[in-house]
Symmetry: C2
Subunit: 468 residues, 2 copies
């Protein structure tokens, strides 16, 4: 009996695209798409794509090599294009937009919601943006222009223009009757927005209270007047955590006069948290936040060339420091063998502190009150690590080269560089953050420069003093 | 007029703890808490903590030095403790649990929902876990035991045991009347679960359809029979993306017989996405996913010591390779000056490929169909980068040491190591993933070993061939 039901639901679901992702493995579809492109079987491509929903197609496009992706995109049904574009990361979306005819970009743009449309307008050429704007109604155009006047990543950029508003002085029965006249509620409607005649936001009527409350109860009696609202200029990094902390699916966005202008939803928060997360890991490696894994070779190579160039400066600074001690190295070649150990261990320890500090800054955990304690903690850990590994590498070096002086120099340099790593691992991101520079991007290069320079300088410098 | 309204809402909100985070800067409260602990002003501490809600206290505790945190925790009102513990990362929560009396742990545990309780049971001592279990009712205890039998990170571990179920053959009016008898709906209720007499899941009745549908309509006519459901054993990494892709706030969890056993919500998805994100960045630095920035010194130092020890093996392998060429270095000391450049540039390029590959694996973008193209792309980029920077470093080395042979050796080694970096940056994570080892943790150590060894070996090896 239960088995029958299971089958029944699966059968029903076959007609519905939402469940399809579970029906065939995505990797199989991707392999099939690549084969069909190679065989130039346009008909089969059309059929395969028409059978899928936009979310799934977007996920497949992101996992297809750039040239194949462009070919397949031309077979995606026009009605799905806006949805697919909405699902894609900016980098992949822009690569597709670049190769579309202006007409089809304009057509897809008409299907987009305002928040996505603004993203697209900012990434296409000025002429194309103008063409898209001209295709909109006057109301839509002015709404878009207001939206574009808000700061990047602000609530005003993310907010949805769809919500249901009610007055505080009506009964729940009146509200329920009003809702019956609608076809559906906007996505992520966990409550109705309560506003006064001037459109000033007064609170939220949770759906839960609407459903469980008595018919004759007034909205004002059960609405949450104390509900969070955010200003239209509030930054994503400030409002996204509210969704994590409080179990809310939507939050009102108000202008400085406290007039309701939009609604940010938990769907936005999911996107923002994913992006913030990618930010640290990608920036620390000198990559774009949404770097396209399957981007064409030339643009990828260009970006990476730049990052290697920056790091080459660090490498040459290290080489320059070593060069200062050429005479010492000439006399004691064992130093050349051991010197990378000090620099490398410093780099590892420093990047641990750096990673923690950047994450702490992103989570808003580091402030004036606790920085001193944090610095003491990191320095203490560096002391313990430094002494322990100084003894170990010293012993190993002694065993290897049978020279107590070299062993002592190596151990001492290790301790010095562990301290340098802790101090710079914490202070570099803090200072960069104060200066308004993103520590995730430039922190690791600066840190490596410090640990390399201090590492080679302390080891070879001490060696010159002690051994010569 | 609008200004008046704004003030009114702010005043209303003063009575409500939810809005308090906006009223005083958190860093000020943290500074005040630290001062009060120093002054041993227990009364003021009690008052300051009683005036805040659990979410805010949790955020403050996470940003307080470990010793202060323990002291402050003893002043957190008992009624808030379960909520605070629920908000905290595991590492911080466990540090607090360790210092609580068994009685107060048991007391707090009684307030927790099942999903959190399982987390706590798994992190406390066996005796304490037993004491907590004994304090539960028989029903609760058996529910917890079933839950603990599900795999870690499965839907069964995350799911909420609260939902509202209705039958398919009743009218919307009946459903509405039934809801009026309840006090409130469970959090994240975006729909009612439709089940049959045996409890078999049949679909979801979205709240939107309930509110906008006609009274006499049957649930079966408007419910979403094709709604996603997930198996109780489905892994978090598989179900969390469903919330990103489809605008849903809750998804039914079913057992193999398709019986409804729970509900995962968008709140879980937010936690999971945050954790996944932290995972890559923290593991790549050898830190715990939720490493406590303000942990006590000794435990932190222990974990870091271990990571440095692993990396020391890499450093000594590099030293050993250099040691093989002592004779060469003795004769041409310029080689010692230049050799870190090749290894360092290889490490940087390799970690770019590695970061992209680990993220691609996490997002499910890499599969059998596209790996070959990806490998060709990364190798092609390595070729471009290698040749460009080989020419640059070659030219600089020539200028510096006036020796064309050294310059040629440096450039050639650079090209070789860029290829080694690309190949290992992609193959190391893929192989580790196939072997079921987390590439985020061990990938970077293995990669650095490859780029260091190949870097020093190719540079010094070529130099030995060409120069001697």
């Amino acid at each position: 009996m239960p088995q029958d039901h299971y089958r029944e639901i699966r059968e029903v679901s076959d007609e519905n695209p939402q469940l399809q992702p579970q029906l065939e493995l995505e990797s199989d579809t991707i392999a099939r798409l690549m084969d069909l492109v190679e065989e130039e079987d346009a008909q089969a491509l059309d059929a395969l794509l028409a059978a899928q929903d936009g979310v799934r197609i977007a996920h497949e496009l992101a996992a297809l090599p750039a040239p194949v992706r462009q070919e397949i995109w031309t077979h995606v049904p026009a009605v799905l294009q806006a949805e697919v574009l909405d699902e894609l990361d900016d980098s992949v979306r822009n690569s597709l937009l670049e190769n579309m005819t202006p007409e089809s970009v304009v057509q897809a743009a008409c299907e987009m919601d305002q928040s996505e449309l603004v993203d697209v307008l900012e990434s296409v050429s000025d002429e194309l943006a103008e063409a898209i704007l001209q295709s909109l109604s006057e109301d839509e155009r002015s709404a878009i222009e207001v939206r574009m006047s808000y700061p990047e990543d602000s609530a005003g950029r993310y907010m949805s223009e769809e919500w249901i508003a009610v007055r505080a002085d009506v009964t729940l029965e009146t509200v329920a009757r009003y809702l019956k006249r609608l076809d559906e509620l906007p996505a992520h409607t966990d409550g109705l927005m309560v506003v006064d005649r001037q459109g000033i936001y007064q609170g939220k009527l949770p759906i839960s209270r609407l459903l469980t409350g008595r018919d004759e109860t007034l909205v004002s009696a059960v609405m949450g007047a104390q509900e969070q609202s955010v200003q239209v200029t509030t930054d994503a990094s400030d409002f996204a955590p509210l969704f994590e902390q409080y179990e809310s699916e939507s939050i009102a966005v108000v202008n400085p006069e406290h007039k309701l202008v939009g609604r940010i939803t938990v769907g936005d928060a999911l996107d923002i948290i994913r992006e913030q997360a990618d930010h640290q890991v990608m920036q620390m490696a000198g990559l774009e936040d949404d770097e396209d894994l399957f981007a064409p070779i030339i643009p990828s190579a260009k970006r990476r060339l730049f990052w290697l160039g920056i790091n080459l400066v660090t490498a040459f600074m290290a080489a320059w420091v070593i060069g200062l001690f050429e005479a010492t190295l000439q006399k004691v070649v064992a130093l050349a063998v051991l010197m990378p150990i000090v620099a490398s261990m410093g780099g590892i320890a420093g990047s641990q502190t750096l990673t923690l500090a950047i994450r702490g800054l992103a989570l808003g955990q580091i402030n004036a009150a606790n920085t001193r304690w944090l610095a003491l903690k990191e320095v203490a850990i560096a002391g313990i690590n430094g002494v322990v590994w100084a003894l170990v590498v010293g012993a190993m070096a002694w065993f290897w080269f049978q020279d107590l002086k070299i062993a002592t120099v190596l151990g001492s340099a290790m301790i010095i560089n562990q301290f340098a790593a802790a101090v710079s691992g914490l202070s570099v991101p803090l200072v960069l953050d104060k200066m308004g520079i993103d520590p995730a991007l430039s922190g690791s290069v600066i840190l490596t420069t410090v640990t390399d320079v201090v590492g080679f300088m302390s080891f070879l410098g001490l060696a010159t003093l002690v051994l010569l």
